[in-house]
């Protein structure tokens, strides 16, 4: 039964009559316009008043307006920065960009860690082992009752109570934890590594291709050739082979104790570490709840029907339960990601220089409070609007088709 014919209500229809606006209180459209004008008018008046005050105050205190300060030299010392920065030379604009990069750095790693930890804990909550289920429930309940700022202070104090670099807690020569942060052995970048990374990406692409071939084979014959073992070989073997081809360069940059601190190796500052720990552990509690309720939202009947058909547990999870659970999990999960990003603004209380911290310093130094706050808001609004847009698109795409 096709549905290509037009709706019979469109055929031969004439246009609806347009109603003229009666300028009388009894016309609902007139009333609507009247009230809107009144309300918008009041708000405009208030805004006018505030703006008037503001420009008078700004003039009285000789504060400039506009964003010209972005071109001036900043003079803000920044402890960690992913790009080169010189306080004596670089501008406020550069400093603010570093702030944004620091925020994104913190948020991105925090999101990954919180998701992994939260998913594991959420699954643990559903475990048949009573001890595990109760312990994870305790974790989730307690961490959600303590303010995140208090948790950040706690982790920071733990890291500051670590011994000085000379007596760091260490794992061989690879990792050193002290009250100056974490120091770890790095590899000096060799051009061979770029090729190795290329090999990894090639391995990933080939794995995808192989899984499609496997799918075709299964469609044709019913037997499915092993996908994961082959994929792992490709993704590990290929990069390793390329690396060996280049002579297997391996130049570790090991941190060496020099006087009171280390030289060499990669660093993670205690502030960044404390923020990462605190934010991930806190948000993981919320994510655990989301994962748990998502999996529980799939009705028991789905498990039973799939089991009655003879599907094994792995297949039931992958093909039936997880697709339905993810539909319920992803929307609140993205709002938790947004929360981590907003909570990363608490870096200003710990001493890590994210966008809020740098913008606050900027507005204190230039006196331009409005522009400073506006910059902070603009950054966060951009991030949250992007996440909202993504979520709407995703929701529309995976919505279950119903009548």
């Amino acid at each position: 039964m096709s549905g290509a014919t037009a709706d019979p209500r469109l055929i031969g229809a004439r246009a609806a009559p347009r109603k003229a606006l009666r300028l009388s209180w009894s016309d609902p459209i007139f009333r609507a316009i009247f009230w809107q004008v009144v309300i918008v008018g009041i708000i405009v008046l208030i805004a006018w008043y505030l703006i008037g005050n503001t420009s008078r105050n700004l003039a009285a205190r000789h504060i400039a307006t506009g964003f010209a300060f972005l071109g001036r030299v900043a003079g803000i010392p920044i402890g960690e920065s992913p790009i080169a920065y010189n306080p004596a030379v670089d501008t406020y604009g550069t400093a603010l960009i570093i702030g944004i990069l620091n925020t994104l750095r913190l948020a991105a790693v925090g999101i990954v860690l919180a998701t992994i930890l939260g998913t594991l804990i959420g699954i643990g909550r559903l475990s048949s082992n009573w001890l595990l289920a109760r312990l994870t429930a305790f974790y989730v309940e307690t961490l959600r009752d303590i303010p995140v700022l208090l948790q950040l202070f706690f982790w920071y104090s733990v890291l500051q109570a670590m011994p000085p670099p000379r007596q760091s807690w260490h794992v061989g020569q690879l990792l050193y934890l002290s009250n100056r942060g974490a120091r770890f052995a790095e590899l000096d970048w060799d051009p061979a590594y770029t090729w190795t990374l290329g090999g990894l990406m090639l391995g990933v692409v080939l794995t995808f291709a192989w899984s499609r071939i496997a799918r075709q084979r299964q469609d044709a014959t019913g037997r499915r050739p092993p996908v994961w073992p082959v994929g792992l070989c490709l993704m590990i073997g290929l990069p390793l082979a390329i690396w060996a081809l280049f002579g297997a360069p391996f130049r570790p940059d090991i941190p060496v104790l020099h006087g009171f601190n280390f030289q060499g190796g990669g660093t993670i500052s205690p502030e960044y570490f404390a923020l990462l720990l605190g934010l991930s552990i806190y948000t993981a509690a919320y994510i655990a709840e989301i994962v748990r309720s998502g999996i529980q939202s799939v009705p028991l009947g789905q498990w039973e029907a799939a089991g009655a058909l003879g599907l094994r547990r792995g297949n039931i999870l992958r093909r039936i339960v997880l697709p339905q659970a993810l539909r319920v999990i992803i929307p609140p999960m993205t709002s938790q990601y947004l929360n981590i990003t907003k909570n990363s603004s608490l870096a200003v209380a710990i001493g890590f220089q994210d966008i809020v911290s740098i913008a606050y310093t900027t507005l204190n130094q230039t006196g331009q409070a409005i522009e400073g706050v506006a910059i902070i808001m603009a950054v966060y609004l951009t991030i949250s609007l992007s996440i909202s847009l993504f979520m709407n698109w995703y929701n529309a795409r995976i919505a279950l088709v119903e009548r």
Partner: protein, 381 residues
């Protein structure tokens, strides 16, 4: 079904009274829940061992080897050598004995601290009364207004023979409760108006304004609003008018809470069946009559659990005001830590703060869950 059944069965069925011994009882429970599979057994053993070790060392640190009080020298300064010696082995609860009044009440004058203490009791009483369903009537609003006025009088003084204590001396737990509760009290009516505006079909300009407000506030962190309050509000005021920092922070919290509460209320409005509004219309009620008599009472009842959860969030978020220099409970904890004798005993202080927060938040979240269950049962008829 009738109880008396004289059955003439074709077979003699021996019905057993109790299941076989392997099916119920503590052993069976342990077998199923702790040792169900070898993986489960391994987890039980590992976790059990870790929990036991942690419990033992915590009791040893927190109770057995703890230092409960320290002597004071002639000038009233504490002598914390006992605590220093016990560092790492025993907790120094003496820091709490020394500092708890500072942490709880801030810099409120010592002799007048019964007033903020009374306020805390009034707050808790207010929450408890609001939680009991029997009191969910219009009169509850009056109780709120009355209690908040009483709290204001107690904290400020200047009347009824109470000496005046200005806001800069307020701090600690009463300040946290004031920010959260007054925030909720003022944000709630704002949220209702914004939610109604957001759902308006006849006033598109108002709807757009509400959407802008909600999306703007929910897209930025509370810090940004607190900074805005702290540095921008003074610019908005005419010359010579100064608003106090506490008031500025309170306004920021109200604006922040209003947006989130508006979304919660909007959820309730959406969940209400359309037929309710239609029936009210058919009876000839005006928009405001319909909204206040029919729609809101039902919609608000629907969303009380998420409302309580949102309030728990605000309660925790008040701790952020320390960043703009207001002396809430968390800040007072840090202030206590900055005193030289106690500088390294952060764990004890943080633990105390955590206990206070958990006490409030856990009670509220348990209440909200119990309420959800109760309301869910009532609806599922």
């Amino acid at each position: 079904m009738s109880q008396s059944v004289a059955s003439v069965d074709s077979r003699d069925i021996a019905a057993r009274e109790r299941p076989p011994s392997g099916v119920t009882g503590p052993w069976a429970w342990a077998r199923a829940n702790l040792f169900g599979s070898w993986w489960s057994t391994a987890v039980t053993l590992v976790l059990g061992y870790l929990i036991l070790r942690f419990a033992v060392s915590f009791i040893s640190w927190g109770v057995l080897h703890a230092v409960w009080s320290v002597p004071y020298d002639a000038e009233g300064k504490p002598d914390n050598t006992a605590c220093q010696n016990a560092k790492g082995i025993g907790a120094c609860w003496a820091v709490i004995a020394d500092k708890y009044r500072l942490i709880l009440f801030g810099r409120y004058p010592y002799e007048e601290q019964w007033r903020p203490a009374l306020c805390v009791v009034l707050f808790i009483g207010l929450y408890v009364v609001s939680a009991i369903r029997r009191f969910w009537r219009k009169e509850l609003a009056l109780i709120w207004v009355g209690t908040l006025v009483a709290i204001g009088v107690l904290m400020w003084g200047g009347v009824l023979g109470l000496p005046l204590v200005t806001e800069d001396f307020w701090g600690g737990l009463p300040l946290t409760l004031i920010l959260a509760t007054f925030g909720l009290a003022f944000a709630f009516p704002l949220a209702i108006l914004v939610a109604l505006g957001r759902r308006s079909t006849t006033l598109p300009a108002v709807k757009m304004l509400c959407v802008l407000y909600i999306e703007l506030i929910r897209g930025v962190p509370l810090i940004a609003l607190l900074f805005m309050a702290s540095v921008m509000f003074p610019l908005f005021m005419p010359e010579g008018v100064n608003i106090d920092k506490l008031l500025r922070a309170q306004i920021a919290i109200i604006l922040f809470a209003g947006a989130y509460l508006a979304e919660v209320v909007r959820g309730g409005l959406q969940a209400l069946p359309k037929g309710q509004g239609e029936a009210a219309d058919a009876l000839g009620l005006t928009y405001w009559q319909m909204t206040s008599l029919i729609i809101l009472p039902q919609a608000l009842r629907l969303v009380i659990p998420p409302l309580v959860n949102t309030f728990i969030g605000f309660f925790k978020d008040t701790s952020l005001v320390l960043i703009i220099g207001l002396f809430d409970l968390l800040y007072m904890g840090k202030v206590a830590l900055s005193d030289p004798p106690w500088q390294s005993f952060s764990s004890e202080i943080y633990l105390m703060l955590a206990v206070v927060y958990i006490a409030f938040c856990f009670a509220m979240s348990k209440y909200s869950r119990a309420l959800e269950r109760e309301l869910g049962r009532a609806h599922r008829r």
